[in-house]
Subunit: 221 residues, 2 copies
Amino acid sequence: MPNEPQSKYDQKLVHVLKTSAAIFAEKGYHSTSIRDIARATKMSLSGLYYYFKGKEELLFLIQDYCFSTVIDDCHKLLEGVDDPVRRLKLLIENHLYYFVHNMNEMKVLSHEANSISGDLYKKVNSKKRQYVDLVMSLLEEIARANRVTGLDLKVATFSLFGMMNWIYNWYNPRKDVDVAGLSQNITRIFLSGLLGDKRIEAERLETGREAQLERKVSIWQ
Amino acid sequence: MPNEPQSKYDQKLVHVLKTSAAIFAEKGYHSTSIRDIARATKMSLSGLYYYFKGKEELLFLIQDYCFSTVIDDCHKLLEGVDDPVRRLKLLIENHLYYFVHNMNEMKVLSHEANSISGDLYKKVNSKKRQYVDLVMSLLEEIARANRVTGLDLKVATFSLFGMMNWIYNWYNPRKDVDVAGLSQNITRIFLSGLLGDKRIEAERLETGREAQLERKVSIWQ
DNA sequence: TCTATCATCGAACACTTGTTCGAAGTCCTC
DNA sequence: GAGGACTTCGAACAAGTGTTCGATGATAGA
């Protein structure tokens, strides 16, 4: 997508994408019809198809552009920073910053990850994998430097993504802490959780209680 | 749902619910047609409607029964345990235990939370609120007892749920750590994150870099 | 002013959707 | 084996879906 002097075409495309993202975020991708989007953008049904080949490409354009921005800015932000802890902090901050300021698009990116298929899915997902790898290697570095042992780094990585990406389910920018506060809190929990107390690591869970209660495995009994 | 000698009716209903949950988990609720379910259960389209009033009630039955089991067993497990930290550990363990052993149903519960509406939505959500309150009050207790300051407990609460509920996006029971390991890791990260290092709390994020890079607010520029 | 590209539209198509309804089949009890 | 409840089914319906197509404005460079 071009940068400086956005053409009339680009402006309108962005308008379509923004509006679509808002509706997708509210009703979900599959429950949104092209007619819904036509109504919201005040365009005709067929007129929309001038801007995308099909509904799935519409979803792709939102996801891809949104995610690309997050990643690109993340790399810019990390440039020249060597300390892995500092790098991680900046990554978290960047991620949450975009999440909060583009909740619709980020929700569509997170929640509709599997609503896309084929090559378009592959395209988004290869970027996603890169991003995950970046985080995981950062955690590895931090863990090694701080002699963290007995922690599964894949669990740690996706725990962090879970904390960050879950916010579209509860966060209300008007009622809750601001982005800075959100970022600080999550960073603090995760980072001191990562480096944290060996006492907690050592303590075993009392699996005894499980058997004691003869808990079902399947909820269906 | 009755317990001991399940009637033929109940057995078949459970079969329908389990099969539906599996398809919902794979394709998503809205992209699943009743015809898909008919095919998978080897029943006729209209025959299914003997077991539920409509597609939405089908989703409700899965979500409600699944969540009720998790909560009921959680309360049983916590009964007689006073130490809030121990209570939290057991809650996490219970939650993850059911998540891993009933991934389909728990994914449907998490991912299709907004695919349900009206009274059925209210019913599921009032339980959800109770469950969230239980966790939040547990965290409050722990934070007070350990003189944890400057931590937003709502952020902490939903960070925990994010860590736990996100697993349907990545966890593979055949490749990754087992439930016990998963539970230990997440408990360790969150708990030592909660009680954790004051140093991390004190450290301010370098918001300077933000301005330096004149990052956009909206990704659409 | 002519013209070629850009942008938009109404109408229609082929298809899938959730749901209903009346009629069968099946089972157990008397 | 008659009667009644429980269970299943085929066929149909009305509504909504994504997408296409040919035609019509708009725009701007020659």
